[in-house]
Symmetry: C2
Subunit: 581 residues, 2 copies
């Protein structure tokens, strides 16, 4: 053992004998939030941050924008340095310091650096090691042209490859980071193919919204391949070839690996700290199974606020907030707020679109066996008569019995982040869908409508729950086509732009005078109504149901149906050309 | 009496004997929402909408944008017509129909039209007459150059005056409509003076935010005169002259009167319907004192959700939602949701700025005798390293004891509407300030920060309530200057751009090593710390208070102090030129 091995960390401040040593492993989101808060609560503590990488407190979420040259200078991604943190917060921050073991009995961590190893005792230990990229079992993944996008060095390297002439890229994985990477590369003029094993891009998003994102990616020039895995990467001299499971071969000057992350916890699990599926188990204050040891961030198990499912949630916001609350529990035991269960709120910009989600999606609710209703709306983000109005494509899931808000997603050109943040607040506050009617949101023509998109979701949801409105869904289409009369209440001109074969077209404004036609066409079958977005068909439903007909309105109308059909829309709908033929 | 006088309204639909007649007085926000909802609930009812004006369902909030030519075609402001409402909703909508009396015993209204008068019986009567412009006792106000901005005709006329060469305008009243009118006229190249009796523009806004709006108005070329009334308008041949109480004379080719509105209720009060200060008294379902009579919108008394104060709230959003709930109570008695108490959420665009408010302001809380704490923050709307970052100037009021959220206001270039909507949702859900820490808001660099502005407000508020952070306020400046040491923790370069005389400058990064200097300068006095925005001074406060000093941090820092001083900032702060002198 070198002398360094038994020397505790140096500290240039004279501290009282009683000063506690708080050791934080990991210097990015959760770890650095914890260290900063700890200092604000306790001037005397010795707070050491050990980061295995070259940088602390860097802008992890900003990396794709450096690749895409929206953030030109990589220095901008370094939000803090060990020096600035020493000056402002008297933190003892050490990069290139990797923790390789924890001795829980002796309360010390083993630290390895380029200069040697040493043991560092702690009074409180905070584990915020984060996550690292999942490396799937794909042959050739160790090619030097395969890169991840997790660190500043990764971003600089990827950008360097483009600067050096890379013109073809394959992005493996179409999650949030994958989409950001694909867009960034496309912005640089790179020919991008994105490959996703799931049936659609952004797997957490509902398919009827994800297809809008696919369309946007295509408009950026990105080739989208979903429902297929990469089976091998064949390295070459000039370029690699990515081979897909269906045999497709895609030439690539670089490959971005973004199929997800997994907690970086082997060292801690081996040291005896309880883990679950590789993630550190913590209580509501971030306490691990070991005394004097806390954990926060991407490496810990969280309990989903809606479904109760236990899983790691690798998101910067919850990590930052949890780190802060861990410091509270260390320094103010017994009084700290519990770390909230995450809603998994996430957002991504793709070209001119924004896609965002909060709370549970359909798959999570199905897995949890929850009975729920889904609402689809396409309201404008601001007054229709004001320039720049565009639609917010909104999906809201509510408890089928109580109307409790369970999850929401949205895609659109503008105003998406606002509606998702309002809905995330409403879900956190345990509001029910009819409470959304009462939200007193800021209205003037540039910002919203007198009945905001969120108010409208409340009105539709309330109508659905009390039976005023009965919905049918795009997923029911095959059954509906065999068992019901499809009544299309759009105008004759809209109908001509594409409609379901066999559907009867009666504009909603003419319906009251043409009920006999409906009865005749229905021949005792139920009537399933649709329009463009679900507004006019809901009015028609009220007319039909009060006329004694078995009626229901298509949730989200043709807009949702087309998106749900995706690439099948053209073969399912009767197009004008076919009508003419 | 003509035959029309005894003939009930014609109706081209054959309705069952049992069909109810619902008569709605007023065809814009509340009235039309009520009529539309009533139809969706009841296909058989005869629903008559009586509008005294020439248009129904017009875009009242869009009028200024037609004057400013952002909405070029006035037709766009006509969202619905009697014909479209007949076709879609089978409503019997009549413009140019003024109700001049209600016979509560016989259940009928007297209607006057250009063609004559008649009585119209009702089963249910809904009063949504709205409000009209207040006309203050100013001599010369009947000059034809004095206009209001309440109807489509008003907007067309104002725009016409500009088209015809009006080049100087005075806007009386700097509330929401006044500011929109001033900006619209300035966009058209008109030389605008805006006159406000209150001490600052946008009286509902806190003064430290309002000054930011004043600066923006000035940058648009608008002359802002506050704390002064118009005393007379002197008509002339070429132009009028607006005479202010301080003797200033302003030449005007047109004058916009926008000093506020008052409920238009004389007819109904005279008919025996209970009113309070001229507004119709209703219960939580919109029921008036008279059986079978409901009311909604600008003409009714509301009970403020935070302070309990009773007053009319002339806002489009609450009116629209209340109208809908009135229809529910008429047609589904006993099951309708109560009409929510309004938060008074409002928003206005002024040049590149947005200003918005929700819940109670300082004046309302003071009047209500409520003990509260105020937080000032200036966080960025999105990641600082992402292009286009700008500050959201945020004020939040919380209950001093419980931390219950009472009100919030914000001004900034971007992201203001989102934060106010999130806070309006939080207030409606009765959240406390520390609950804001836990909101799981959508974060990626183009949309927010890992700790969103709203999360940060929660953290600051929580610190204030539990004593971790002690604040002092810009309003305390005079007292602080006489009794305390002012410690400015900005950098030396920032300090040189303007600082308080007598303040000691120690950058926060040097404070730990220079505590003796602070003690020496303080000579036993309290230390009152400040920085640019309140972030660094809060860190300094923690250092000082743990060193045993009596310390407090300036809420909102120099940014808030400068705005609170307004035009007095230049004489209060020591500027570099004076330092050099």
């Amino acid at each position: 053992m070198s002398t360094a091995a038994t020397t505790p960390a140096p500290d240039d401040q004279a501290r009282p004998e009683s000063a506690r040593r708080i050791v934080v492993v990991g210097g990015v989101a959760g770890g650095m939030s914890c260290a900063a808060r700890a200092r604000r609560l306790d001037e005397t503590a010795h707070i050491v941050v050990l980061e295995r990488g070259a940088h602390v407190s860097f802008a992890s979420c900003g990396l794709p924008y450096h690749v895409g040259d929206e953030i030109g200078d990589a220095e901008r991604l370094l939000v803090q340095t060990p020096q600035s943190l020493r000056a402002a917060l008297d933190l003892d921050v050490r990069t290139g310091h990797e923790v390789t073991a924890v001795d829980l009995e002796r309360r010390s961590v083993r630290v390895e650096t380029a200069e040697g190893a040493f043991d560092l005792p702690y009074d409180a230990l905070v584990l915020a090691p984060g996550a690292r990229a999942i490396r799937p079992a794909v042959e050739g993944l160790d090619s030097p042209r395969v890169r991840t996008l997790r660190t500043v060095e990764d971003a600089v390297a990827l950008r360097g490859l483009v600067d050096d002439g890379a013109r073809r890229a394959v992005v493996l994985g179409a999650g949030f980071i994958g989409l950001e990477a694909a867009e960034a590369l496309a912005r640089r003029g790179v020919d991008v193919t994105i490959v996703e094993l799931a049936e659609h891009v952004l797997p957490p998003l509902e398919h009827e919204l994800a297809h809008l994102v696919t369309d946007e990616l295509r408009s950026l020039g990105v080739t989208v391949r979903t429902g297929v895995a990469a089976s091998a990467i064949e390295p070459g001299v000039d370029h690699d070839v990515v081979v897909l499971a269906d045999g497709t071969r895609v030439a690539a000057d670089l490959v971005v690996l973004s199929v997800g992350v997994r907690p970086s916890t082997e060292v801690f699990e081996a040291s005896g700290i309880a883990c679950e599926h590789g993630a550190i188990v913590v209580d509501e204050h971030g306490r691990t199974s070991a005394e004097h040891v806390w954990a926060a961030g991407d490496a810990v198990v969280s309990t989903d606020a809606v479904t109760g499912v236990r899983r790691p949630v690798p998101l910067a916001g919850p990590a930052n907030r949890a780190g802060r609350l861990v410091a509270d529990d260390i320094l103010r035991p017994g009084t700290a707020r519990p770390i909230p269960a995450p809603l998994g709120t996430a957002i991504v910009r793709v070209g001119g679109l924004t896609a965002a989600t909060t709370g549970a999606n359909r798959a999570a609710l199905d897995r949890a066996g929850r009975a729920y209703r889904t609402l689809h709306l396409h309201p404008l983000q601001h007054a229709g008569y004001f320039p720049g109005a565009s639609q917010v494509h909104l999906v809201v899931h509510v408890d089928a019995g109580t109307g409790l808000l369970l999850g929401a997603q949205a895609v659109g050109d503008d105003g998406v982040d606002k509606r998702i943040d309002v809905l995330a607040t409403a879900i956190r506050a345990h509001l029910h869908v009819d409470d959304l009617i009462d939200l007193d949101l800021a209205y003037s023509p540039p910002y919203g409508q007198a009945k905001d998109a969120v108010n409208l979701a409340g009105m539709v949801g309330s109508n659905v729950l009390d039976g005023t409105l009965r919905l049918w869904y795009a997923e029911d289409l095959d059954q509906v086509r065999t068992e019901a009369l499809l009544l299309d209440t759009r105008t004759v001109a809209e109908y001509a732009t594409g409609h379901l074969p066999g559907s009867l077209n009666i504009p909603h404004t003419e319906l009251r005078g043409r009920l006999d036609e409906v009865r005749e066409a229905a021949q005792g079958r139920p009537v399933r109504v649709l329009c463009a977005s679900g507004v006019r068909s809901a009015i028609a439903h009220r007319i039909l149901t009060q006329a004694g007909l078995d009626s229901a309105s298509l949730s989200g109308g043709m807009l949702t149906l087309r998106a749900a059909l995706g690439d099948r829309a053209s073969s399912t709908l009767v197009t004008p050309a076919l009508v003419g033929a």
